[in-house]
């Protein structure tokens, strides 16, 4: 991996606390923590609260930019006056310790909420005030498949800074001007990397990539993925419960609902997560439903992620985090689907 043009520095492990202390003067810091055996990204007061011994967070980071419930505006139900003032975002935030797959998922969500005009002001406000510091992966989970979807254990896409955990220190690579802002705080305590440290990083990542071999070939599966009428679709959906867990935990799923709520005399219009896997998602007021059974809905989910998104945004909407596989109650496994798609002539 070329380091050309990107600043690389080394931070000693014992200096991490000082680094965070300096950062916390300007930023709210969210880092990985284990609470009741669950790894989550929570606000931390110091580096000591960080648990580095995790594979990945259970919840994806999308809630930091696209919360489960978001008030779009409130109104007076009598006068129907609309109150558009949004709550202030106090300080800037750092999301520290995101895995490269999750960082890449933010880059994908940006395509929907920022690049696809008109931009979404609620997302933008949270996005522009957040810096992403990812932590490269050295121990993938059995359900990870990032390398099969153009991502990897050290993907730099979506992050402002990437940390590599070496023996006794961290190698820090600054990826964006916003990232420079973050690393600049530690200018006094970082030092340039030695040849030994650089080669240690290459070695660690080479081993990580070896553990993370491609499990399917997206190009090879593409022909069936693009075929709306492939007979495969009639078999794949049967065990799906339509429970929506895959979509809610997926870092790149972004479907939402907009509803009005009234608690007299005030009301609000809210945006909440929704799922294409639900029966009523595409139900017209006339009673017509273009996706009446789980077959159509399962097909929509997979084609949207791997076919339509590629055509629309240029990239599949999947980063291989494996959450959909881990948490599906009936063990629907997208890797298994892809392999079956590859078999189709």
């Amino acid at each position: 991996m070329s380091n050309k043009g990107k600043k690389v520095a080394v931070l000693n492990r014992q200096d991490l606390t000082a680094f965070f202390t300096s950062l916390s003067k300007r930023f709210r810091i969210f880092g990985p923590s284990r609470i009741h055996r669950v790894d989550s990204l929570v606000e931390i007061a110091s580096a000591d609260a960080i648990n580095f011994n995790y594979r990945n967070m259970k919840m994806s980071p999308k809630a930091f930019f696209f919360p489960q419930t978001q008030t779009l505006f409130s109104f007076d139900n009598e006068s129907k006056d609309v109150n558009t003032s949004e709550p202030c975002q106090d300080r800037q935030r750092i999301l520290f310790g995101l895995r490269p797959c999750d960082a890449q998922s933010i880059w994908l969500l940006d395509k929907v909420f920022v690049e696809n005009t008109p931009s979404d002001p609620y997302y933008m406000k949270l996005r522009t005030s957040t810096r992403i510091v990812s932590l490269a992966c050295t121990h993938p989970s059995p359900t990870c498949f990032c390398t099969s979807v153009n991502c990897g254990p050290d993907s730099e896409i979506g992050a402002d800074v990437i940390f590599y955990e070496l023996n006794g220190c961290y190698l820090i690579k600054t990826l964006t001007p916003e990232g420079e802002d973050v690393v600049a705080v530690a200018n006094d305590i970082v030092k340039p990397p030695t040849e030994k440290e650089l080669s240690e990083k290459e070695d660690i990542m080479r081993k990580a990539r070896e553990k993370m071999k491609r499990v399917f070939d997206l190009e090879c599966a593409q022909k069936t993925l693009d075929n709306f009428d492939a007979p495969r679709w009639a078999r794949l959906y049967q065990k799906c419960l339509g429970c929506g867990v895959c979509t809610y935990l997926c870092p790149t799923c972004h479907c939402f609902d907009i509803t009005d709520e009234v608690v007299q005399p005030r009301g609000r219009r809210v945006r909440t997560w929704d799922s294409c896997m639900y029966q009523l998602f595409t139900l017209h007021a006339s009673g017509h439903n273009p996706r009446p059974t789980q077959k159509e809905r399962m097909r929509q989910r997979i084609m949207h992620k791997f076919s339509y998104a590629r055509k629309y945004y240029g990239h599949a909407f999947c980063v291989g985090c494996g959450r959909c596989i881990t948490y599906c109650p009936v063990n629907v496994d997208i890797r298994q689907f892809m392999k079956k798609f590859m078999e189709e002539k």
């Binding site: 065990k239 867990v245 948490y327």
Partner: protein, 327 residues
């Protein structure tokens, strides 16, 4: 285990050969360690996919309402299904609620001594990769990079299995008996009893705390065989009963309503708890209602097809102290 598997396969093959069923729902090997997955067989050539082991957790009855809806009438398909004790009780309730036609079903009952909670084992292994696994009559044996580890089954069961009184299905066309690996301690679940004996304030606090984790994904509802409404109250717009957000009031309302919809119907199979991605202890609350209905009306769901549901019938013996002697 293997013998039970062979028995299942040969029965299903025979059912297809005799043209007694059009579709069989069972379990197949999962893609993750210690997991199986529901399996739909419509052709005797694929019967070999079926498995039976201590990881066959899913309640397959959940698929019946949607299959039956599509296939009512003279041309309805006949469906074979593998049922453990809890699954068979779900089937009994579905028959009573007219969601499933008994005549369209061929039930292969299988006696079960409890299902392994794979997440308990996985969390002890703390991310260590399982290379392979096997089971003996009383243990799960996993092979890791550094060697083997053995987990005694009775210590790693799902909570809903620990005190289950229904190792043998309550309805079946044919029963496959399996070896019980440990004497069942059927009886009240101590966790549920402890909860029921807490003060009202304490119980409410626990309910609020547990439901605050909810992300309104509806996995609990979709995994439950009892939740077959075409339009769930939580999604109705005419009228809108409940908001769709994860605000505190919406979460409390959703779970309260769902739990009360289960009164007298929930068989405590644990499907909701297994499906919930946020580890909410849902059965703590549904089970309290199950126990209350049992105490009040002497009724347990899923035991007898002939016994009418208590909330749909009135008997002169019904307790009325909540009216005659309110607190």
């Amino acid at each position: 285990m293997k013998q039970a598997e062979h028995e299942i396969m040969s029965n299903v093959e025979r059912l297809f050969a005799d043209k007694k069923i059009d579709l069989f729902i069972g379990y197949e090997k999962g893609t993750l360690p210690l997991r199986t997955s529901p399996c739909f067989i419509d052709d005797r050539n694929t019967v070999r996919r079926l498995v039976w082991n201590s990881c066959c957790s899913n309640n397959l009855a959940v698929y019946l309402p949607r299959l039956m809806l599509h296939r009512k009438g003279k041309n309805s398909k006949r469906i074979g299904i593998l049922c453990k004790g809890c699954d068979s009780r779900s089937v009994v309730e579905l028959i009573k609620e007219k969601q499933v036609d008994r005549d369209c079903l061929y039930i292969i009952g299988i006696s079960c001594s409890g299902i392994i909670d794979s997440s308990k084992i996985l969390s002890e292994l703390d991310g260590e990769g399982i290379l392979s696994y096997d089971e003996t009559s009383d243990s799960i044996v996993v092979e890791l990079a550094e060697g083997e580890r053995s987990f005694p089954k009775h210590e790693y069961l799902y909570e809903s299995c620990c005190n289950c009184a229904y190792a043998t299905p309550t309805v079946y066309d044919i029963l496959i008996r399996t070896v019980q690996f440990a004497p069942k301690v059927a009886g009240p679940d101590p966790n549920i009893t402890a909860f029921a004996h807490k003060t009202r304030e304490e119980r409410w606090r626990i309910f609020e705390e547990e439901t605050s984790k909810c992300i309104r994904c509806y996995a609990c509802r979709n995994a439950c065989p009892n939740c077959y409404c075409k339009e769930c109250f939580a999604e109705q717009t005419k009228p809108r009963w409940i908001g769709v957000t994860n605000d505190r009031s919406d979460l409390l309302f959703y779970h309260t309503m769902r739990i009360f919809h289960q009164a007298g119907r929930c068989v405590d199979c644990g499907a909701c708890v297994r499906a919930c991605p946020m580890n909410i202890n849902l059965r703590l609350f549904t089970r309290v209602l199950v126990d209350e209905v049992k105490e009040r009306f002497g009724y347990e769901p899923g035991v007898s097809i002939k016994e009418p549901p208590p909330l749909a019938t009135f008997s002169l013996n019904d307790k009325q102290e909540f009216m005659t002697e309110p607190d």
